[in-house]
Symmetry: C2
Subunit: 349 residues, 2 copies
């Protein structure tokens, strides 16, 4: 083991260096690495020895330029700090990296400027495909991602009106099951803590909420809705509004469009003396890990986030690999209602 010279950056060996040392042409070196079977045994040994001697690694920029593929995928996340995504990313990572792809993470953070930059990046041919977890096709100021012809797959948040492969759970149906559970427990006055306005997840879950109510001959229009945005804080605000309601109209059960809001609600409601689930039952959505560690543990719809990521990645690989048709294919992932301690029979009135 020879120590690298100290100070200054060491120039990495290139294919020509290897070729010189092995006393062959660059073509032979390249072949030895890509198609070992076509070079003679003896030559192969010489080349491999030279490779180890020089510590040669093919320069990916050169390869990407020539081969017209970078083996990188762009994964667009609306907000990395949201505990929902890391587990999805894990599934994505597992699948993509098993297939030899690297991942560039695009964290939008609600910045149109970043969004535009990532569109440029994608259109610059630096990535072989784009995985959207953000509910819309990212838009650039000048460039258009769709027009680039890059393979695109969407997951987590459905994108309406685009014919791209998508992976999602049946949010409407899952929400309906959650609410039906509350109805089965005898609750008749059920409130909804909403996601951000115009968010597709909110729309679907709200629809499921309404559907379940109607199925029980309850009027969704009379059901109280609390504005929200998927954050703990929103749940806390909803709880304050809930506490301020007169007893006659205050819901005995709440369906929150995600777990964090449900947990925020519980915290503030309990702090004000309300008992959960005795005074109010609550169901969340997502099944984040913490939902099993809050007090009381949270009944929720579990989404297999890792599977979602893995499935989406598989679709993307298919799209990047197959030569032609990005035939839009939809994958549905099943959810599960996890019964825990935040729901109980409606109090007798």
């Amino acid at each position: 083991m020879s120590r690298p010279e100290t100070g200054g950056r060491r120039k990495p060996a290139k294919i020509a260096d290897v070729a010189r040392i092995a006393e062959v042409s660059v073509a032979t070196v390249s072949r030895t690495l890509a198609n070992p079977e076509v070079v003679a045994e003896e030559t192969r040994k010489r080349v491999l020895a030279a490779v180890t001697a020089t510590g040669y690694t093919p320069n990916l920029a050169g390869r990407a330029l020539r081969a017209r593929r970078s083996m990188l995928a762009l994964v667009v996340v609306p907000d990395l700090a949201n505990p929902f995504f890391p587990e999805v990313l894990r599934g994505v990572d597992e699948t993509l990296s098993a297939a030899g792809y690297g991942i560039i993470i695009a964290n939008l953070d609600n910045s149109a400027e970043k969004e535009s930059r990532y569109v440029d990046l994608a259109c610059a041919g630096q990535v072989d495909g784009v995985l959207l977890l953000c509910g819309h096709v990212i838009r650039g100021r000048v460039r258009d991602l769709r027009a680039s012809g890059l393979p695109i797959v969407a997951a987590c948040e459905r994108i309406d009106g685009e014919d791209i492969p998508q992976v999602e759970v049946d949010n409407e149906d899952a929400a309906a099951r959650a609410v039906a559970h509350l109805i089965d427990l005898g609750h008749r006055r059920i409130g909804y803590i909403a996601g951000p306005e115009r968010n597709v997840l909110d729309r679907d879950r709200r629809k499921g909420f309404g559907r379940a109510l109607r199925a029980a001959r309850l009027d969704p229009r009379k059901a109280p809705a609390f504005a929200g945005d998927f954050t703990f804080r929103a749940g806390e605000r909803a709880a304050r509004d809930w506490l301020a309601m007169p007893d006659a109209t205050r819901p005995s059960a709440i369906f929150a469009a995600n777990d964090e809001m449900a947990i925020g609600f519980v915290k503030t409601a309990r702090a004000a003396g309300a008992r959960v689930p005795d005074d109010v039952s609550i169901v969340g959505f997502d099944g984040i890990e913490f939902a099993d560690y809050c007090e009381p543990t949270l009944t929720t719809i579990y989404q297999p986030r890792r599977d979602i990521g893995a499935t989406a990645a598989a679709l993307l690989i298919a799209a990047m690999t197959s030569p032609k048709p990005p035939s839009p294919r939809f994958e549905r992932i099943a959810t599960r209602l996890m019964l825990r301690d935040s729901t109980a029979a409606a109090p007798k009135r």
Copy 2:
């Protein structure tokens, strides 16, 4: 706006296309984009018009090859699903992307094979720098990251014996403050829930734990330690062990090496009838968001994770930008003890 032809991938325009349309040479196009001031007003207008007309974006592989820099950084995370990291990544992302860098995320997930692949990726000149959040210099089977001469910065987990810039909090000191807080409350029998063995964070926090005990003339060797690994489950196991201890030796306070274990401990202890903080006080470490939403809210050491990420990214940018010296520079980020409801005066015996 002309619609892209449907079906088949559209070939992106290249610099030669722009040059042809603008009736100039490729050099002029390149200059117009990189140094607009050196081309004549009139020419510049023609070129820019041609750029918009063709929707031209420079191919990054070509640029990276020629310019010998990819404007990408590799960020190595031990485990994306750990809620500690996303917020760090956010800080990293903000700073790096403001400087025009993209981020490739390397999620190690405890796989030596992945680790080796990422070393290869880095050594292949595909990235301009490496940010390690994983406590060790990643090792390849063949390639050596240190020998590549790439700028490297470490954060979150100190890496001993390597002269690279690092960003960290004073874990020992913070732990000592946490434990001193328990001692101030009158606790004399204090337990420690540990991190993974040989983990540098565990070592430092354990040292701080011992230091605070000794400062109060207590013997650290007599303090019960519970094995752990930073997960909820580990906290639950510790609680079961704690519950099984005889009253005479059972600690009245616990310092957990991170918040998740503290929360897991509380869950299981309470489920068995123990009251927190009346029967047992507990302090965590990290200050993850959940720590303020569990029951009771958790007293903990808050680490400004976003700052850590941003600072590390800034050091990396400095290293990638400056031509020569990767002079090892250490940055210390201050922590804060957040007093909440999981700690109270020791019960009278």
